[in-house]
């Protein structure tokens, strides 16, 4: 019977339906949990990029603000929907005053799209915090851009030096090896073995700051 023409087709069809069904049921039962976790972790990341600034103004500890999630998120963070602005943007408001912005930015990495959150001062010139939301870089090499030492290089960095320029508003940077110590504020340490990914992070930041400036020059967020 196994050698007949129809048996392999019917057998394979049954198996495909069976395993697809198992996968569909497994996913259906886990879907809500996965989405809840993704929403929570994304909102926590937004809050974390803005927590230091909020803490500075409200004279609290950033850890206390993070511990008070989701209440603190609802209290301080507002999502904006500016017309024609193709990025997600959030603002931190304390006592009815905007103290910082957080943008979701995107760029090409070595293997795929990188998504990151970058928070800025209200004049959009200084990076307050920077964090990677998702990336598809090589594990152990490019994926190390998520490590604290790499991300912290961007904190409190004046990134926009030519706000009036229509070509490029950003500072140019030079990469040095991971083992070296930067000699000036234009040097950044790259991830060893991940030159393209390290370059991609800078390219993404520069392109996105130019995009933000091209928008805010003629519009309000």
């Amino acid at each position: 019977m196994k050698d007949s023409f129809l048996y392999p087709i019917i057998f394979m069809l049954i198996m495909v339906v069976l395993f697809s069904g198992i996968l569909a049921v497994t996913y259906r039962f886990s879907e809500a949990k996965i989405q809840d976790y993704q929403t929570d972790s994304y909102q926590k990341m937004i809050l974390s990029t803005l927590a230091t600034k909020i803490a500075e103004i409200t004279q609290q500890n950033p850890q206390d603000i993070m511990a008070a999630y989701p209440k603190s998120f609802e209290q301080y963070i507002y999502q904006l929907n500016p017309q024609g602005f193709e990025r997600e943007v959030y603002q931190a408001v304390v006592d009815e005053e905007v103290v910082a912005y957080s943008f979701e930015i995107k760029g090409k990495g070595l293997w795929g799209t990188m998504r990151a959150l970058v928070s800025t001062t209200p004049d959009f010139r200084t990076i307050l915090d920077f964090n990677i939301v998702s990336q598809q870089e090589t594990p152990g090499l490019g994926a190390r851009i998520e490590e604290e030492w790499f991300l912290s290089q961007f904190r409190d960095r004046i990134f926009v030096v030519n706000p009036e320029s229509e070509d490029d508003v950003t500072q140019s940077y030079e990469f040095i090896s991971e083992a070296q110590t930067p000699e000036n504020d234009r040097q950044l340490k790259r991830v060893t073995g991940a030159t393209i990914t390290s370059d991609s992070v800078i390219k993404m930041l520069r392109a996105e700051f130019n995009y933000i400036y091209s928008y805010v020059r003629s519009n309000e967020l």
Binding site: I34, P139, G193
Partner: protein
Amino acid sequence: MTKKEIFFNATFKDNSIWRQILGICSALAVTNLMLNSLIMGLGVIFTLAMANMTISLIRNWTPRSVRMMLQVLIIASYVIIVDIFLKANMPQISKQLGPYVGLIITNCILMGRAEAFASKNKVLDSLIDGIGTGIGYTLVLLLISLVRELFGFGSVFGFRVFGDWWTDWSIMVMAPSAFFILAMLIWIVNTYYYKVKA
């Protein structure tokens, strides 16, 4: 063969990496950190064991002409189940795993054991073979990553072992180091374990 022999053959004597030279791509790709190797190894052990068991369970009804399609379907299904389970219940570990889950599907050890063992042997034997093969694979990954992480980052499982005097060897972080460490491992195993003479 006894159950014990099946296990030890799969783990050591017929080790998929140093004896059969299978699964080399992932062995080279993920071994610059021990934690990555361990996570990859656990994923492979689970998928190998479950896929072997399922393929063996339905082997008497499986037509030869579609057996490889079916093996891929079963392996991919288990890998996706692992992925969904981790995302829902262990999101932090899922994040650590990143693209490794997908890499498990492409691991030729799984197809190799499905075709060479599970499709011809009993369910329990196939399960033991899957676990043994997975453990053998994980041990080799951990051995390679121990050398690479120690010299490349001065750490073991992320814990700093060498002091500030240590200069990290960049070559150990990059793929070429995995090639020569694996080659040396195969040479040592051939010489001292299999007693192969030049």
